[in-house]
Subunit: 142 residues, 2 copies
Amino acid sequence: MRPTIHHESLTQRLADSGMRATPQREVVYSVLLTKRDHPTADEVFARVKGELPTISLATVYNCLETLVQCDLVRAVNFERGPTRYCPNLAPHAHFHDVQTGRTHDVELPPGLLDQVKSVLPAGFDANSVEIIFRGKAATPTS
Amino acid sequence: MRPTIHHESLTQRLADSGMRATPQREVVYSVLLTKRDHPTADEVFARVKGELPTISLATVYNCLETLVQCDLVRAVNFERGPTRYCPNLAPHAHFHDVQTGRTHDVELPPGLLDQVKSVLPAGFDANSVEIIFRGKAATPTS
DNA sequence: GAGATAATTAGAATTATTCCAAGATTTTAC
DNA sequence: GTAAAATCTTGGAATAATTCTAATTATCTC
Ligand SMILES: [Mn+2]
Ligand SMILES: [Mn+2]
Ligand SMILES: [Zn+2]
Ligand SMILES: [Zn+2]
């Protein structure tokens, strides 16, 4: 089942930015919410085609861009790899597993980002802080 | 004057990795040390041509890659922009000024990176932490 | 100095993304 | 309700940064 819960908030956010809710935007967003593994645009494209077989890759890029601008999704970059997309709106860092290529969310204790920001010298006004870890993650005992 | 001081350490580092010191590698490195504004490969190319007019862009990419592998230079990425190169070996963060496009080094108090690493859950073993600020930097009173 | 090894080079290829212009859909105005 | 306006989607072309390839040049070993 598609999470209809989010339909309302998506429509609202889009409207706030003067944009329309479309089936393409809804399915792209729903795909991100359903499997939160930080997919690339290509991966989103493949997943969305399950529901909308005629969608184009250009539209997937457009939808992702729109969702990012509405602050419903974060774009995440590792080196020069393809951009990945994350619907987790809580402040968090990313752990890039160099063995598997997988990306993990790392919850941050409240205040940590401010603490990090506090190392900035006078005159530097940051409106975002990004923290990226790179290393090996133990395979969860399954 | 080219900083000859570093010639020795460059040659040594290259030798440690089984590579040779070449005029191209030396000038690329010297260009990075001389103006530490986090130039892109294209910008390095333009600067190096002053001393080695016949160098190719491919060689600049090769040299930069080599310097990064020898741990003499860090590659820095902001979103999907072109990779920038930084010869500052001290642990530091980067501040990306969205107005000017300029990149500033932010020195980090000792222990901060470890403190940030300590938020990682068990099983996550990070061998690098990257911190990127984005915002506006006050123009230094000149 | 000959042969082996490593590095540089020009240009082609690659990859992710953006641009474009045309057509489809939705909204607004009457 | 329809026509015009605005917004979206689409396929394909274009772009930008980087990597690859194969040939040449330079360096090192003997
Ligand atoms: Mn990316
Ligand atoms: Mn980059
Ligand atoms: Zn995330
Ligand atoms: Zn730096």
